[in-house]
Structure formats: C-alpha cells, structure tokens
Symmetry: C2
Subunit: 228 residues, 2 copies
C-alpha cells in the first residue's frame, strides 16, 4: 500500500501543488478499503464528498428502467470520481462500484470546498480536470450518436494502444461484457463484431489479447464509423 501523501501528490488533480498544500489536503483525506463488487454510492445518494482511486478499479454506471447497465467510465489509480456533485448539487448522478479490491481516498465536501476557496491554484487544477472530463464526454457523445458499434470499438482499440504504448497488440483490462457496456452495446453484438473484424483481417483476437493487424484500417473505421 502506497503512502497517502504519495498517492495525493501523484494524482493529476493535485499536480504541481506545493508541499504545504499537499499536506493540508492529506489532512482531510479519509482512507477506505473495499472488496471487489462493493457499491460505493448509488444514483440519487446524497453527496458529501468525492473519491480518488488509490489502488484498484471502479466503474461508474447508469442503469436503465429494464435493468440494463451502461458503464460511463472505468477509473484506475490516480483518478478522482464523484467530484461533480460536490460543486453542482447534492446528489450523485450515477452509480459507482469497485471492479477489484480497491483502496480509495475520500474527501469530505465541506473541508474540500474550504481548501479550494483558499487555494486558487488548486482550483485551477480542478478546473483543468473537469474540463478534460467534459472533453471526453463530448467524444463519447459523438461516438454514440455518429458512429456504429464497429467504429466505437475501433476507436477504443486505438485508444488502448496509445494508453499501453503499443502498436501491435493490446490487452483488454476489462471483460468483454464490460467493454460492450462501455461501448453502449451488448456482449452478443460485440462478439459478432470482433468475429467480423477478425475475418476482415483488421485484428486477431486471442482471449483478452488483441493483435492489431491493420492500424490504418482501424483508423478509417474509427473516423468513418462504419465497417466496410
């Protein structure tokens, strides 16, 4: 387990802050250890603070009327979540659950707002993080409304390749069912599309490893949003 102060100073949210401020942030952080599958909060719960993932993985998701689940984000170490309602209002807009045994830091609302209001540079960091998220959401909405599933999958694979700094093979860090949910579809459809992309020589799947055989083709697909 990493030191709390270390975790805090590594988080993008607190990047570049002076030692002294990091210490005052550390003082308000509350440790929290969760098993896999633990629900952290539910949509509509009152929000009295936000979290940072110190270790493990957390999914943020919505559930439809019929119980179908759509994953909005999957966050790993260093990522904050639940920070939106700290400023916007009083309730969480989605559900959060751990995907792995996880270690979280909790920041109580009142104390954090107090810190921010005394700390312009912390506020600027926070603004940058929220802005990045907004930008990602813009992309996600674009994907959902302008691209078909194969296009979204291609985008995701290219994003993964960048993330993992590989050009040949990427490894899924989540199950295919979860990936389907993240792409706004269902496992059956995802499975069929992977099979189709195999046949077309774009990729070669082997369990959770996916060989990228035709990066150019994947790029076309992610731009055009349509297969063929």
């Amino acid at each position: 387990m990493k030191k709390i102060l270390q975790i805090i100073s590594d988080a993008p949210l607190f990047n570049g802050l002076p030692e002294e401020q990091l210490n005052s942030i550390r003082k308000i952080a509350v440790d929290q250890f969760c098993d896999k599958g633990k629900t952290i909060f539910l949509e509509g719960d009152p929000c009295d603070g936000f979290y940072i993932v110190a270790d493990g993985r957390v999914k943020i998701y919505k559930v439809s009327f019929e119980g179908k689940e759509h994953i909005l984000h999957i966050y790993g170490p260093g990522n904050p979540f639940g920070e939106v309602p700290v400023f916007a209002g009083k309730k969480f807009p989605a559900n959060a659950q751990t995907l792995l045994k996880s270690h979280l830091l909790f920041f109580p609302r009142a104390a954090f707002v107090d810190l921010i209001s005394k700390n312009p540079s912390l506020a600027l960091n926070m603004l940058a993080v929220l802005s990045m998220r907004l930008r990602q959401f813009t992309v996600q909405i674009e994907n959902l409304s302008l691209k078909e599933v194969p296009g979204r999958l291609a985008s995701y694979l290219l994003y993964l390749a960048k993330e993992q700094d590989r050009t040949d093979t990427v490894m899924l860090t989540i199950s295919k069912g979860q990936l389907a949910s993240l792409l706004g579809t269902i496992p059956e459809t995802l499975s069929r599309i992977l099979a189709r992309m195999n046949k077309q020589g774009l990729i070669e799947t082997c369990g959770r490893d996916i060989k990228l055989l035709d990066i150019g083709g994947l790029e076309d697909l992610s731009e055009q949003g349509k297969l063929q």
Copy 2:
C-alpha cells in the same frame, strides 16, 4: 441592447460576485455582434478564449465523416460556451454557429485565467458551471445509450414544459430538423415518431406548438425509453 455589465452580472458564471470583481471582468470582455448562421469557431481551431451569449442563440455541434451533423447543445442568453478548452487544452472540441442574429461577449484566455487565479469565489462559480455541464452530459449519454428515440423525445418535451413553466402546451424554440439532430436522429424518424405519439393520444402537434395530452404517459416513456 443590454449593458455589458448587466449581462455579466446576470450570467450564472458570475453570480454573486461583488461589484468590484464584476467590473474587472467587464474590463476584459470584448463585444461581438454576429448575423444568423455565422460560424464562431470550428472543431480543432486554436482556443484563445471563451464566449457568453448576451443575446440570440448559438448551436454547438459535431459533424460526422459523411457530413451528418449532431447538435450537442443550444445556448441562449446568459450561457457560456467554449470555456472547456480554456482549461483543458488548446483546441475547440466542437463547432459553434449562431442560429439567430446574436450578441456575444468574448473573454480572452490569458486575462480570464489571471482573474480566476486571483479570485477563489469566481473559481468556485466556474467549478459549479462545469460540474453542471458534466451532469447534463451524463444525462445525454444515458439518453443516447439507454433510450430509444421516443424516450428521448418524451424527456425533451417534459424538459421544455418545465423550462417554459407550462403543463399543457409547449412551443418548440428550434426547427424540427434541429430537434432531430439534438436528439441524435434524423428529421424523417422524428416526424414518424411525432405522428405515432399523436395517434396514441400522448400529444397533439400543431406546427411548432405541441399539446401535452398525457403527462403521465410521457413520463413513463421517458423513464422506460420505449414506446408501448
């Protein structure tokens, strides 16, 4: 035309700020008058500041590879736009165009960041605005991925009713073609769905006026996301 100071003090972004700060904000604001259909910025343009709508209406939209357009937002008086890349990066993530003859206020990036970094309460306001936007995006993504078009339309009608403070009849403030794009669909589909909802007695359309005949039914539809 309203006074610039008046516009600024009415904008949610600057809500509750002391007179003195409003004045320093006013000093960095640049007036801009646009005809209908004027492109304000394009996706990928370098961003050197953001805007507030003083008067008129602006659409924020993305264009797909084949040229299909999806409207992300439509903003009216008091709303800021383009504020994301001021903190996140250097380029605009979407396009902006006026829908009406409009009056905008432009805030240059450097001057504004400077203001924020000296002004904790302005920073907090900004955080609240961005958080609200993130929350709206969450809803939009939920709509796109969990609901079919009739569900999204019902949500929009109920939102309009709330906005206009009516329970019987709402008036579309945009054309049906634009509404289709905002809902992530095409005019033909929207037209068919409106016809279907008419037949089912949920609504009664008359040009741009839409009578809400069965609010309960619309609520069910917007929750379940499916017609029937």
